[in-house]
């Protein structure tokens, strides 16, 4: 098994304008997703939702600035760390990951164990 990160990129405005309902619906979808990953033979090792980019602080060369590292229409809003057999399996799982206001990116986790 290999490990992958599923990075969720969404337009934050989607949740801002959708209000509590949009958030609630998304949370329910994520709950279902957690069950589906197991049914597909994968495993969720971790993951979290992030507060919006308006709460971000960036640091470059010790200079601290308000805001995200890069301003983009669709921002990183959460992530999962999953275990899957191979990229096809990871993609199959990632396709189920809710991202109503954007999409997801799958990235292999680098093996730094040096063995």
């Amino acid at each position: 098994m290999a490990q992958y990160a599923i990075l969720i990129y969404e337009a934050e405005s989607g949740y801002a304008s959708g209000g509590e309902d949009a958030w609630q619906t998304a949370m329910e979808s994520h709950g279902r997703f957690a069950g589906q990953v197991g049914e597909k033979g994968g495993k969720i090792l971790g993951g979290d939702a992030l507060e919006p980019t308006s709460t971000a602080t960036s640091i470059r060369n010790d200079v601290v600035t308000d805001g995200p590292f890069v301003e983009t229409k669709e921002a990183l809003g959460g992530f999962y760390l999953i275990e899957a057999r191979d990229l096809d399996h990871a993609i199959e799982i990632a396709k189920l990951c809710p991202a109503p206001f954007g999409g997801v990116e799958v990235r292999p986790i680098m093996d730094t164990s040096g063995g």
């Binding site: 290999a2 057999r85 191979d86 990229l87 096809d88 990871a90 993609i91 799958v106 292999p108 680098m110 093996d111 063995g115």
Partner: protein, 426 residues
């Protein structure tokens, strides 16, 4: 076979030719089988290169083996096993993912590799997680055995750019864990479509070369046909493969007549049909019939059917245009592409006259998806010319001329500009 003596030079040439032939025919087979042992595409490539070098010497001493592919595979796998034994660090940290149950004798020396290995290689090279241009480069490098320099030349990029493209793709296969396998039945239609698209792209790049002095790059055309033949042999029940191979054969049957003795491009209506390759047309047409049988035909089958209608017409005037219109409508139905719409408009001109076709083209032009596609203004110019609207035809030919770099096409368009300029009194 002795060395030295007057016969030696001749023998050496014959051996070199036999090795070159085996390179062309067997490369994919040998590499696919070796990748199983090395579990690393780079290491497999090195072992296969070494095996071909070793063949030059060994075949000169022992004669050319009856089955060169099996000989080369055994040699390459021995080399791979030796290297793995000697240098444990070569065992990649991220070995190529091979399904375990698929070949129990993977490490048995000289075991014939199953044909499927080539399919695994092709599907891995054309994995949708790789960019299209990387899929094409990897397929030509790993499946066809072309050098990075040759591929770079075919696609008009520098060798270092192409080398970087191939390296990045291989690295992604290993780091992202793209499995070395034929996709499961559920994903097969989509994944096969990607493979066929890559083969078709290799063909079209050769059929109308983006640059260089010639209209056709025969090497790429031949490679694409060979690839389609391999796929056809390995997956005989896939009708879209029959369709693609039929399309390539029927299209390429016209190769000798697409330019005149001076390299000037000739249109379908100007070509000498008696010089079309009858054997290729017959083989292609039989494949077309097969690809259309049993269920909804795919886009390659329909394109092949269209090409076959042209190929089988006794003359341009006698072409079955209404039948072509039916085929284009079916093609548009499953593959709504503005390029198909444009080609359909050319048929509309033959069925309902140039004005009807111009109206269709105006709609295609308006939606902007074909901006920069030189065949659009070229087709429009031709229709305007036929309607006697020479001034408008001239500007459209000039617009097309601005958009192509192929010298044969440029020559053709320039001659048309000159013709309509005279007619326009310029």
């Amino acid at each position: 076979m002795g060395s030295g003596g007057p016969a030696a030079a001749h023998d050496r040439n014959a051996i070199r030719a036999a090795v070159a032939d085996a390179h062309r025919r067997e490369w994919a087979f040998v590499l696919a089988a070796t990748a199983r042992v090395t579990r690393d595409l780079d290491a497999a490539e090195e072992c296969v290169q070494d095996a071909y070098v070793a063949a030059l010497d060994a075949w000169a001493r022992q004669g050319v083996p009856r089955n060169p592919g099996a000989w080369l595979t055994t040699a390459a796998r021995h080399r791979a096993l030796d290297t793995l034994r000697r240098d444990r660090t070569l065992r990649a940290k991220l070995p190529l993912l091979i399904e375990e149950q698929s070949e129990p004798d993977a490490f048995a020396d000289g075991a014939p590799a199953i044909g499927d290995d080539r399919l695994r290689l092709i599907f891995t090279c054309c994995h949708p997680a790789l960019a299209r241009e990387a899929q094409v480069a990897l397929t030509l490098r790993l499946v066809c055995g072309l050098s990075t320099g040759e591929i770079a030349k075919a696609f008009l990029v520098s060798e270092s750019t192409m080398a970087a493209r191939v390296t990045r793709a291989k690295k992604k296969i290993s780091a992202a864990r793209i499995a070395y396998r034929v996709p499961a039945a559920a994903e097969l239609p989509d994944r096969l479509d990607a493979v066929l698209t890559v083969v078709h792209l290799v063909f079209t790049t050769g059929h109308t070369a983006p640059g260089g002095p010639d209209l056709v790059r025969a090497d790429l055309v031949d490679r694409a046909i060979e690839l389609a033949r391999i796929l056809r042999k390995l997956m005989p029940d896939e009708r879209e493969i029959a369709g693609l191979l039929g399309l390539l054969l029927v299209t390429d049957a016209r190769r000798a007549t697409r330019t005149d003795a001076y390299g000037n491009m000739l249109l379908l209506e100007q070509q000498d049909r008696s010089l079309w390759d009858k054997g290729r047309i017959a083989e292609g047409s039989a494949l077309v019939i097969e690809s259309l049988r049993g269920g909804r035909p795919g886009r390659f089958a329909l394109q092949a059917a269209i090409a076959a209608v042209h190929a089988e017409a006794a003359s341009y005037a006698e072409t079955d245009w209404p039948q072509l219109l039916v085929l284009y409508d079916r093609l548009l139905n499953i593959w709504p592409s503005p390029v198909v719409e444009l080609n359909r408009a050319v048929v509309v001109a033959m069925v309902s006259g140039p004005q009807a076709a111009l109206d269709d083209i105006a709609k295609i032009e308006a939606d902007g998806r074909l901006d920069g596609y030189h065949y659009l203004p070229a087709a429009k110019a031709d229709l305007l010319r036929r309607l006697g609207r020479v001034g408008e035809a001239r500007s459209a030919y000039l617009a097309a001329l601005k958009l192509t770099d192929n010298p044969a096409e440029r020559g053709f368009l320039s001659r048309r500009v000159a013709e309509v300029s005279v007619a326009d009194g310029r």
